[in-house]
Amino acid sequence: MSSDDLYKGYRGQSLDLLQRMGIKVWSEVRVTTDKGEFCGLVLPRSQTADDRHLVLKLETGYNIGLDVRGIKNIEFLGYHEISYHIPPVEFPFDAKKPTVKLLGTGGTIASRLDYRTGAVIPAFSPGELYASVPELAEICNLEAHELYAVFSENMGPQEHIGLAKAVAKEIENGVDGIIIGHGTDTMSHTATALSFMVQDSPIPIVMVGSQRSSDRPSSDAALNLIHGTMAAATSDIAEVMVCMFGPTSDQYGLLHRGTRVRKMHSSYRSTFRTIGDIPLALVDERGIKPLRKDYKVRRADKKVKLDAVFDDRVSIIYQYPGMKPDVIDSLVDNGYKGIVIAGTGLGHTNRQVFPALRRAVAAGVHIYMTVQTLWGYTQMFVYDTGRDLMEIGVVPAGNMLPEVAFIKLGWALAHSHDQDVVRNIMLTPIAGEITKREPPDGYLVLQGGLPEVDRFVKGHKK
C-alpha cells in the first residue's frame, strides 16, 4: 500500500491529525471528542470534501464525520484489511444458444456493494454479470470486453471510431448479436455515429444503460440488460438500436432506431423516446414484438460496411432571440468546416446573423438547418426568413434531429468538402435519420392534468 492509500483522501488538518496519532484508514478506533465518544472504522475521505473531518463507519453501518478540532484522542483498536474481490462464477455455456458480445464503454451495468465499507464495486466480466443477472444465461452465451472506461459525456469521435471498429470485428468473428453498455447522457449520439460508421450490419447492435444505478434494488439496469440481450440474441432487427425502458414502470423496453432516438428527461427511467416516428419494437422477458415492418432484417453472413471516419471541425448552434453574428464568425475564424443550426420554428435564425452566415458559406463552411422543436420538419419556403437563409446557402436537413445532423455532418466532411457531395451525403438517408413522412402518432406528448389523460394514466401504469 502506498502512503497515499494509508490516508486516502485526507489532507491538511485531518491528515495531520491522523499522522500525529499514527492512525491509518481502515483502522478500528475509539475517538474522544468534545461531544463524546465514538467507535468505528476510519473510512477514506472523498477527495472533494473538506480537510476538517474524520469519517467513521459505526457498527450500525452509519457513516459520520467528526470535526478534527474537537478530537481529543484516538485510540487504536484494530485493523481490518478490505477486499474488493468478487467471487468468480462461471457463465454457463450452451451450444444451442446464440452468442452475444457485450462491449463496455464505461459506467456500470451491474455492480455489487461492499456493505462494510459502503463501496460500490462494478461487475463487468461475464461471470460477474451472471452472478448479478442470472437471467442472462437463459438467453445466450455471453462474452464481454471492456473497451473504454469513461463517463458517457467523455465519449467523443475517437471513441466512436474505436467502438465502430470493435463492432465490425465482432460481426466478422460471427457473433449473433452485440450489446453496448453505455452511459445514457450521450447514448443516442453514439448510436447515431455507429449508424453511419457501421452500415448494413447482419446482426442487431443494441445499446443499453441505466437511469438508476445498479446498486439499488429499484435499478432499471438489470431489466435493460435482459431486454437488450434478448434483442441482440433473438431479434431479427439488424440495426443500431437503443434499448431502454418504455414506461417508468418495470414492464417492457423499447427498441429505438439509433438515429431517431433522444434522451428527453434528465432523470426519468423512460427518458428515451423515438422522435417523429414510432419505435421499432417492444421487448420484454418473453421476446420481441415489432411495432413496424420497415427495418433491416438479420442475415446469416458476416459482411459489414465499416466507414469509421469523422471530421471534428463541426459545431452545433442553438438559435436564440438576438443572437449576434460573432457567434458564427468565431466558429469560422477558428477553422470550423460545418455548422448545424437548431433553428426556431420551421428552421429560422434572426436576421442579424445573415451577414455572418454569408461570410461562413463564402469561406466554404457547410451549414445545415434543423429544428429546435425536435418534432417536425424544416420548411424554409413558408416565410421570407427561410427563403433568405436558403438563398444564403443554409441547407434544410428535413426532420433530422439536431444532434444527428451534427454527427452526420462530421462524418460526411471526413469524406469530402465539396458542397454538392456533402449535400448529397447529408440528405440521402442511410439509417432512417430523415424520414419521408411523420405519422400522426409520431408526436405524442400527453399533457398532464387533462381529464382524459388523468383517466389514461390512472388505469395504465405509465
Binding site: G36, G61, Y62, G65, A123, P217, K461
Partner: protein, 566 residues
Amino acid sequence: MQRFWDKEFYAGLGLKVGLEVHRQLDTSHKLFCKCPVLPYSKKFHSKILRHMRPTLSELGLYDPAALMEFKTKKEIVYCLNRDTVCTYEMDDAPPFEMNREALEKALVIGTMLNLNLVDELHIARKQLLDGSIPTGFQRTTLLGICGHIMVNGRKIDILHLGLEEDSAREVSDRGHRRTYMTDRLSIPQVEIVTAPLMETPQEAAEVGQAIRRLCHLSKMCRTGLGRARQDVNVSIDGGTRIEIKGVGSLRDVPKLVHYEALRQKALIELKDTAISRGIDDSSFGWSGDVTELVKQQACFGFVWGPKSVAQAILLKNCQGILATPTGPGRVFAHELSDRIRVVACLDTLPNLVCSDNPEYFDLGPMFDEIRTMAGGKAGDAVVIVLGPEADVVSADLEIKARMVEMLKGVPKETRRPIPGGATRFERVLPGRDRMYPDTDLPPIVLTGEAFDLAKARAPASLWDKEAEYRELGLSKSQLERLFTQGVWELFDHLVEKVALKPTILAYLLLDWMPYLKRQQVLVPEADIFIELFAKEKDWAQKEAAAALAFAVGHEVHWKRKGRGNE
C-alpha cells in the same frame, strides 16, 4: 392473565425489550424534495409498477431477506397523487438538498436526548426490499449516539437518533401484488432507538410513553393519527431478537411484548421436544402431489382455481407438533401458514391443512392414505398445501425450511401485529442493515451555531418537568395527557395566574373542556379562565360560580358517560 409489570416472571424468561420510535417532524415540506406534507388521502392520479431486485452481498451471494423478497416475485404498485409526490418520490429524479427545517428540528430532539451529536452528517442508503420505498432504500442519516432519558427514576440509554424519510403507506397486499399510497413517503421523521434495557412489557410501554411526551414537549413533531409508530425488539433467554414492526399505538405494546416472549418460550420448548423425538433435518424429505385425492374431499372450504394443486409434505415424527400453542388462538401450524402466505403469496386461507388440525380430524383416512403413499407411519404429521402450482412449489420448500428452523428454536424474523395481541411473520430479518453511502448528496457540516440554536430551542428536561407536575399532585394519567393533548403550556400559564388547585385545573383542561367540545358547547378561551378565576378576583361572579359548578361536577359528566349517552 400475567401482570405486565411482574418483574419476577419476566426476569425468569430473561426478557429484554428495546424500542425504535419513529416520529414525523412538523415541517412544511418533505425531506429531500419540496413536496408539501398534507393529510393522508386515498386520492391518486396515476400508478406505476416496480419490482425490487436483490443486490449481491459481500460474498457474491444474495442475503436471506433479499432472496425471500425475490422469491415472492411481488409486483409493487405505487399510487401517485400529484399534490403530494413529485418525480423524486417515484425514484425518477435524484434527491434535492436536505430540508434544513427538518434537520434543525431533529437537532432539538437530539439535544433533549443528551446525545453525542455528530459534526458532519453523512447521508446513507438503508436497503429495503419490501417495496415500501420506491428506490429500494431509505435515505437516512445519523445525528447522534449515546444519549439517555430518565423514566420512573431509571436511566434508559438512547443508542441512536436518526433523521430519515418516512416510507410509503401499504394499502393492500394480495397475492403477487402489493399496493402503496405515496403521500407519506419521504416525510421527515426521527428514529429514536433505545438500548434493549426494558425488563417488563409495562416498562417497554412506559419508556415509549416517555419518548412520546418528550416529542410533544419539544414541539418539533407532527401529531395525529399515523404520524408516529414504533418497532419493538423482543428477546428472551435462548430466543432471538424479534422485531415487531409498525406498532401504531403504545397501548398495544405490553400485550405484544408479552405474547412474543411466550411465543419464543413455546418455540424453544418445541425445539427440545423435536430433538428428544429424534427429529432432524432429514425428517422433512417427502412431498408429493395429492390433488386428485384432496379434490374428492368436500369439506375443505378451499376455492379450486384452474391451476390449483394440492401438495402433501410428510413431517416424520411430528404428529402433535403442529398443534402446539404459540400464542392466543394460535398454534405452530400458523407459523407455517404465515410463512407461505408471505413467501409463496398464498394469501387465500386456508392455504394449508394439516393432520393436527382438530377441524380436519374427520379427514383421518385421507391423511392415512398419504402416510402410506409417503412410506410414513402413524406418528408422522402431514401438511397439505393448496394453491396455484408455481406458488405451491415455493410453499413446499418454505415449509421444509421453516421445519428445519424449528430445530434451532426461534428464527430471526420481523413480525407484524395482528388483532388480539399476537404477531405474524412479516419477513426474514436481514443479517444486518445493508447500509451504504448515498452518493447523490454531499456530507452536511454542522456548525457551532446549529448546535447552539438547537440548545436554545430545547425546552427544560422532560423528567424535571414531570417531577414538578408530580409535586403539584397530578396523577400519572394527567401528566401524560398534559403532553399528548398539547396543553401543558396553557396549564403552566394558568397555574401561575389562577386561584384553582392544580389538580382541578388539570381536570378542567384535560376532561371538562374536551367534554364541552364533544358536546359542541362553546368552549371558553383561556383568557376568560384567567378573567373568571384570577387570583385577585372576587369569587362572587355568577358566571364563575356556574362554570365552577360545572367543573367540579364530575358526577354529571361520569354518570352520563356511564349511561352510554356520550
